[in-house]
């Protein structure tokens, strides 16, 4: 069997490595952990169903594109829902309704790895990324966070290499302006 042939084990290994980051990306975009998990689960099945027989080298840009499309679909549904039910509370307030045991576990994770100040700085970073225009956020996530090459990021975004570089540059300018030059989580 060729090394680049798709296998169930290979797909499982790829998804296991990508799932945690995909959940965080979706969580920042949707501001909801549960919705992020739903999006990532749907994306996994979509990748397997539609592209599972493609060469494994194509899975990364395909999976990220699927995740971004599902995030966009979610945001469109949210905007329609908010227009209809305009008295609904904001997503920030919905976060406070998470289960106590999940909150306790999140806090335990934060206490284990970061101080409270670092947690606040991380929240600022997440808000800044979420507020980026869609294409800038995609370019930032794919190039900086995911570490994809410009070529793979362009495939995932469905645009040219030059567009990816332009969007990334603008995203970084915006983030640095919002977070400040001295921003850092490491004291």
């Amino acid at each position: 069997m060729r090394d680049d042939a798709p296998t169930p084990q290979g797909l499982d290994a790829f998804l296991a490595a990508a799932q945690a980051r995909a959940v965080r990306v979706a969580e920042i975009a949707t501001r909801s952990r549960d919705d992020a998990l739903d999006i990532v689960q749907d994306a996994m099945l979509h990748l397997a169903r539609a592209y599972g027989r493609r060469p494994p080298a194509e899975w990364a840009p395909l999976f990220h594109r699927i995740v971004e499309n599902k995030i966009r679909d979610f945001q469109r549904r949210q905007s329609v829902r908010n227009r209809i039910f305009f008295w609904r509370s904001s997503a920030a307030e919905d976060d406070e309704d998470s289960l106590p045991e999940v909150q306790a576990q999140d806090l335990a994770v934060l206490d284990a790895t970061e101080s409270l100040m670092q947690a606040e700085a991380l929240k600022r970073l997440e808000r800044a990324i979420a507020e980026l225009p869609t294409r800038q956020r995609q370019a930032f996530v794919l190039r900086v966070w995911e570490g994809l090459s410009t070529d793979d990021a362009a495939k995932a975004m469905g645009c040219s290499d030059g567009s990816v570089k332009t969007h990334l540059s603008r995203a970084l300018v915006t983030l640095r302006a919002q977070l400040g030059e001295a921003w850092s989580l490491q004291d």
Partner: protein
């Protein structure tokens, strides 16, 4: 990390991007419930691209078995119908019906269960008797 990673950025932008990247990646945590949930989904994804050969082998066995079962069930029907006997003569039919309609010495007789006149005479007497005595309870 690739040496050419983010090469198109300036030094300051690259440093900022790498710092942000490190912190974002450090925040990638899943609790055990989330990990189990995603593991179940990955199992479904694996099943979607699993080779279909072993499924085909079962279908190749099932099809002949189904044909054999249908053929066996049809074999139980005897297609050769028995010949219908000719109609008996009128004399034979009359003789047979005579046996059916003949009276029998040990045949049961139907007796009406309607009460005779003695019953109603006794009932009237009993009711007269009831009316005479206040103490006697009703039957």
């Amino acid at each position: 990390m690739n040496a050419n990673d983010l090469a198109e950025l300036s030094t300051a932008e690259r440093a900022f991007a790498q710092t942000v990247r490190a912190q974002l990646r450090a925040s990638e945590q899943l609790n055990y419930i989330e990990s189990a949930r995603l593991a179940a989904t990955r199992a479904q994804a694996r099943a979607l691209i699993a080779p279909a050969a072993h499924h085909l082998s079962w279908s190749w066995l099932a099809a002949p078995a189904a044909v054999a079962a249908i053929a066996f069930s049809l074999m139980r029907f005897d297609t050769s119908a028995p010949a219908i006997a000719p109609l008996p003569s009128s004399g034979a039919l009359q003789a047979l019906s005579g046996d059916v309609n003949a009276s029998s010495a040990d045949a049961l007789e139907w007796v009406s269960d309607e009460a005779g006149p003695d019953f109603y005479r006794d009932l009237a007497f009993y009711e007269w008797l009831q009316s005479r005595s206040q103490m006697e309870p009703n039957a």
